[in-house]
């Protein structure tokens, strides 16, 4: 389940999980206290304190759990597990308006791949899309950095993976695309 939670759509539903109960509660409170029962509440000021404590504790615990559970999905943390005892395949690329120079466009599934990229003129992105349309990861490159931007990723499914620049880089930004082919491991 966590595999789904820490995807783009997982992010959407977690946002809704935080927002929808709040919105319903706010609507109920505002409607009730402005139209139905506008008189003073029967609750004494001291009686709000436990509700306040429960609410803030719940928010704090939720925030901590959501972030702790995400740790193993952080690319550099995931990479250390994925590369355990297995050599990384190196893919170097240079991004330049408006194309990529990629050292290797054919990758074997199941092998950890280290993508290392630089931008040679302005800021660029390098986002790899799964064939089903979701973003697997994205990278930001700026020109003139000492180190290349780097991500390690292990592809599971064979297929054609679109690469798109997600950092606006000028009038042909939308045409800055490429493709990686993931094949079954030998």
């Amino acid at each position: 389940m966590l595999d789904y939670v820490y995807t783009g759509w997982g992010a959407f539903w977690v946002t809704m999980f935080m927002f929808v109960p709040f919105a319903l509660m706010a609507y109920w409170v505002i409607r009730r206290k402005s139209l139905v029962d506008t008189g003073p509440t029967q609750l004494q000021p001291g009686e709000f304190a436990p509700i306040e404590g429960v609410w803030l504790t719940f928010a704090f615990i939720f925030f901590v759990v959501a972030n702790l559970a995400s740790l193993k999905f952080i690319p550099w943390a995931a990479a250390s597990g994925a590369t355990d005892g297995e050599a990384e395949v190196q893919v170097d690329f240079t991004a330049k308006s408006w194309s990529y120079d990629i050292s290797n466009r054919q990758i074997e599934a199941g092998k950890p791949v280290r993508f290392s990229g630089r931008a040679s003129d302005t800021q660029h992105g390098f986002a790899v899309y799964h064939p089903d349309g979701r973003v697997l990861f994205t990278m930001l490159m700026m020109p003139g950095t000492a180190k290349p931007t780097s991500v390690v990723y292990t592809f599971k499914d064979p297929g054609k993976y679109a690469v798109r620049c997600l950092e606006y880089c000028g009038v042909a930004h939308h045409r800055m695309q490429d493709e990686l082919t993931v094949v079954k491991a030998n």
Binding site: G8, P40, L56, F73, D121, G125, K147, G170
Partner: protein, 509 residues
Amino acid sequence: MSIATTLVKSTPIFGKMFAVDKSTGLEEINAWPALMIMSSFVWLVVAGLLGLVMPATQIFDLSSDHFYTTLTLHGAALTFPFSFQLMMGVGLHRSGGCVGKAITGWLPALAWLSMNLGGAILTVAVLMGLKVSVVVMFPLPLVGAQMGVWSMESVIVGFTGIYLVLSCMILWYPLLVLKMMFFGKKRPELVLSERSLNEPGMLGMLLAAATLLLTGLPLVVVGTTLLLALYKILPMSLAAWAADPVVFQYTFYLFAHNLMEAMALMVASAMYATLPLYLADGSRKLYSEKLANLALWILLVTSVTSGLHHFITFYPNQPAALSYWGNIMSWGTGMGAAISVFTVLATIWQHGLKPEPGIIAVLVGWALYILDGASAIVTSNIAWTYQLHGTMWQSGHFMTVILAMSMMWMGVLYHHYPVLTGRRLDPALGNRYVRMMTVGSFGAAITMLAGGAAGMPRRFADWHPEGWMLYGNLILFFGLILGASFAVYFYNLMKSREISSPMGELATA
């Protein structure tokens, strides 16, 4: 008569909406805010019309050049001369009436002039060909000129415009707020609703001004250096450090991120100041001022460094430790929001609410801001940002925060309008605006977040691949509803009726 009053009076259509009331002797706190608010709405109309061009380029398959031109202008007009200027105008009017000091002299004039002249100059630069988006994407302006995509003249003109806009936000406006709060003599006849700096309504305004000034100063240094080099006053060799993309981006986002946070502090303070005025039992008290102040301090402390989340996908150039820090601080702002949620709802539950359109607009804008906050902390998480950074999620977050703040300030304006103009707005039209804006803003926000979740890129002139046009069409649909809600708002301003006692209206609001 003040220059500002004259400028408002001589402006067609909008001048009628904001004609300054001179009968109450409050022209000194009414004139410049009225001009700023009026100017912000002129920019809103410009931004709204430009916003239509982006879906039009998709639907009618027009040149992507039009898309990127309007992307830059729409974003810039909506963010700075509309949203910030609206906040500046209403916020100054509020603080003027709270501390009893006139908003006159060269500072408000400079703030208004630099914002609007800067916006106009930037518009000229974009029409000359400069297409760099609202966040400049440095070093794109220089690279585009080197590649011959646009001229170096357009870069110089554009940077001049941006510099003027920034000078308003980083220098003139914060200095004006600080001057009003700490210098000059209070004049009892200008005091409308006296407040101290210990009250959350004033504390938020002070923290916001200090944040803009302090986090913006590095960008002023970088921007001044670059501008002097572009005008050949300084040799490029001496400006090379400022032209380094990493230096520029980090100083830019230190300010740009905190600009949004400062505007959030401002609206939170406006909420804390306005809500008590509409409580059904007339108590005029928040559930807890201490808790409200705590939320503001948490927002301030956590947000200053949370902007590091902008560069998480830049790893290892941004060390992992800084990314974790940005992640944790961003979620820390969520605790500030959780406290403000409790404070606001507990206040309403304790005292009841008079459901007038102004305060309902403020509350709906605040709810939109909570949605935005949830989307913001999610995308600040390292694991999620690797899949969301650069997608429509970020555009949704940015647009939502601008809309939420605008809606809250437009709600607060309902409260200030009778004092500014001596006229009253129609509550039925006000309620219609609130309903339409609620549907339009929440619909557009949720659609953009869903588009981002589906991988739809932001600032991308081709919505056809992967079925993204569905999200584009929905954004257009909700955007049209938003546009219609603004039309209703303007119609209400046009139809406003004179009232005999504007001060009395304020007192009984």
